[in-house]
Amino acid sequence: MTETTLPRTETATSPVLQTIGVVKTFGGVHALRGVDFALAGGEIHALVGENGAGKSTLIKVLTGVYRPDDGQVQFRGEQVTFGHPSMAQQAGISTIYQEVNLVPLLSVARNIFLGREPRTRLGLIDTRAMDRDAAKLIGQLGIHLDVRAELGRLGLGAQQMVALARAMSVDSRVVIMDEPTSSLEAPEVATLFEVARNLRDQGVGLIFVSHRLDELWQLCDRVTILRDGQHVHTGEMADVSRAELVSHMLGRDLAQVERGGATDFGESHLRDREPVLTVRGVDARNTLHGVGLDVRPGEVVGLGGLLGSGRSETVKAVYGALPTTGGEVRVGGKDVRRNSVPDALRSGIALLSEDRKAEGIIPALSVRDNIALAVLPRMSRFGIVSEARIDALVQTFMERLHIKASSPRQPVGELSGGNQQKVLIARWLCTEPTVFLLDEPTRGIDVGAKAEVQSLIDELAEQGLAVVLISSEMDELVEGADRVVVLRDGAVSGELDGAHLSSSDLLAALAGDIAEADAEAQQTDSPEQTADQTRLGGQA
């Protein structure tokens, strides 16, 4: 039941939300050049395109964040101009924007109901009711967390789910999701699909953006493809093949695109050498419990686990960015000082963080300065930086990673999500690490880029780099890693390698977790069901 196309009658209905010849430019950059787009009620409409194709911009135009330079937006037949996101929301369009946009310091419940909290008779916020309803919503999404806890304490994945809960908590005609699954695990993805399908069946129109192409066929009815801010194709999801889709996105012809495998990872390249990275019994207050890990040169070790299993925590701890209470990290036999990022860097560890916005880019600085940031000392004499060297370095990496920016001096904040990610990868490659920790390296980047990054990871491993790979994408993990270490509740719960390294094995491992997790918190949906959803999320 991967493709669920709808009866013609549904899709034939007049569009709820529509753009006609929308144009949007930022300074020199043409983000949208006259895009026509139409969303019908009761359909799930995929919006795809390369990084920087203009998807997010289109969404922001639709929801009143940006005002189009030209063209018009129509909602339910008549033309509208939303001056502010609130106006779009009042009209019945609820949106999950690309980067999580919630308030870290407020509780989960507050975040879900901000602006429309339940009231008591006195017109005051009814905190009890609010927490109760929030807990219910979160429960329906199959995750269990304290809704009174500060949102900022949750992992990115969890935050993403809270954003979904917020979007669900209003009944709206249109729901827009810009890369909602980019940091989600199979179970959560399955839940999200469930939710989306329910909404569709209630006649709501949904826009769904994702760079995980498989998801499109599982979920979406129709698809619109953008390239360089232009509309290139709209049609039934079922009618396009993966290859066609990609060729449309990249603007290359089919032959070029057609290749085997869901990902671009090459063969396994395990070599039995001494581990270069050894992690022993790392503890961190109520997130990690005695995590151990070995990585050999040229080996790619994957970290598997459910949302909140502490994978991000593990790599952060290794990198010294998460205060640990015990355990040791050794690189090439030498001890790495605890809780010291500089020391970790010196001993050759690099971490590509999962949270691009908060822990990665420095938005106001140029692409150039962002790339060179970590290697300034090497780029300078007597504390005086050598522009020439930096330019050379930046040049090479921008070409090698195909970073799409108007110039090296463009502020990174203005780049599209995927290109920001590439900038960060470049930053770390500059440091010539011996151990590279990648937390969701392909999060939110398009097929083309993803292929590049994946083969890059291979290439790096080939060159003898030790890689730790965290990915919420089953295939990426299975095909990319030589071994997968499975985490649960901040502790190693198992390891898969060689013959046992397959999607099904991994799913089984995770499903086991889920079963337990659900056993712990008695929930409406039964384990089997969740496991079943998981499989849906995983396959294809």
């Binding site: 300074g27 940006y66 502010h84 908060a358 822990e359 005086i384 904040g413």
Partner: protein, 322 residues
């Protein structure tokens, strides 16, 4: 500041704002100059113009330090008190000759900066409070050391305030030298680059292995040092050390200069030339009000309006931060 925050207006008027943002302060400056050329008698005399440069030096020097601090997403309210403290130290050591006295004064400033830097860098106290505490205590210490105002007659020291080289007063030359130095440090050195990175996104800077604490502390030390320099120069000019009054409200003038110069208080940017222009603008405003003998009440209201106007031209509509 991230692209996602851009709202309709801001993005629409992006281009022209860019131009204005780059030139606004200079436009205002030129406008006020022209006004004076026309309306103020004897304004174009070499001495009058030089006088403006002389009088603006303390603000410029302090503002440059402040610009660096603001670049790290911080703020330093203690500069005025530090000036007073530095000045207060001088009479104590002037007996051993001007150089040693000045050295002592600068040391005092350096220590204040180091204190502020450590409290902010190591303990993580919010800059505005940390420096507020130092401001209050510092002024008190200055008074304890200096007591009531003391005239300073030491010829070497007086010369610093009154002397000239090729018709340009030492104080102005010093200010120019410092400006160039700070410009170089901010633009060309690792430290300068790291500073703006830290101001732009502390968390990311930390994960990129930048020596956040060291940079923070250094910055406050530099700021304190520059404040001390300004204090010394003012003392030399008035040939007296007045711990009670010296540098009162300097922190506000300096911050205003920086912001008029186009540096957002949200950090992540340092604009040296703009800051200097901002200081000159403030100087010219006060001078103009004196030239035309405006009563204090009107003067204060006029200042308010002009400052708002100037900053609006600079930062208008792109959400400045608190």
């Amino acid at each position: 500041m991230s692209s996602t925050t851009a709202t309709a207006e801001r993005t629409r008027t992006r281009i022209d704002l860019d131009w204005v943002r780059r030139n606004g302060v200079y436009v205002a400056l030129v406008a006020l100059l022209l006004f004076n050329v026309v309306a103020t008698n004897n304004f174009l005399s070499e001495r009058t113009l030089m006088l403006q440069l002389i009088q603006v030096t303390p603000v410029v020097i302090v503002a440059l330090g402040m610009a660096l601090v603001i670049g790290t997403e911080g703020i330093d309210l203690s500069v005025g008190a530090v000036m007073a403290l530095a000045a207060a130290v001088i009479p104590l050591y002037i007996g051993y000759g001007a150089p040693l006295a000045i050295l002592a004064a600068l040391t005092a400033g350096l220590l204040c900066g180091a204190l502020a830097g450590s409290i902010i860098g190591f303990v993580g106290v919010q800059p505005i409070v940390a420096t507020l505490g130092i401001m209050v205590a510092g002024r008190g210490v200055a008074n304890l050391l200096g007591g009531e105002i003391k005239s300073i007659r030491e010829p070497g020291f007086v010369a610093l305030g009154t002397g000239e080289f090729l018709g340009v007063p030492y104080v102005v030359l010093i200010a120019i030298a410092i400006s160039l130095a700070v410009w170089f440090v901010a633009r060309r050195t690792i430290y300068g680059r790291q500073l703006v990175a830290i101001g732009g996104n502390p968390r990311a800077a930390l994960l990129a292995g930048l020596p956040v604490r060291r940079v923070i502390i250094t910055t406050y030390v530099v700021c304190g040092l520059l404040a001390a320099v300004a204090g010394v120069l003012m003392a030399a000019r008035s040939q007296a050390s007045d711990p009670t009054k010296l540098g009162l409200l300097m922190e506000l003038s300096a911050i205003t200069a920086v912001v008029i110069g186009g540096t957002p208080l949200s950090g992540g940017q340092v604009r040296i030339v703009g800051t200097i222009a901002g200081a000159l603008l403030l100087q010219l405003i006060t001078a103009t009000l004196i030239f035309h003998n405006i009563p204090d009440s009107t003067a204060q209201m006029a200042q308010a309006v002009i400052v708002i106007a100037a900053v609006y031209v600079q930062l208008g509509r792109r959400k400045g931060s608190s």
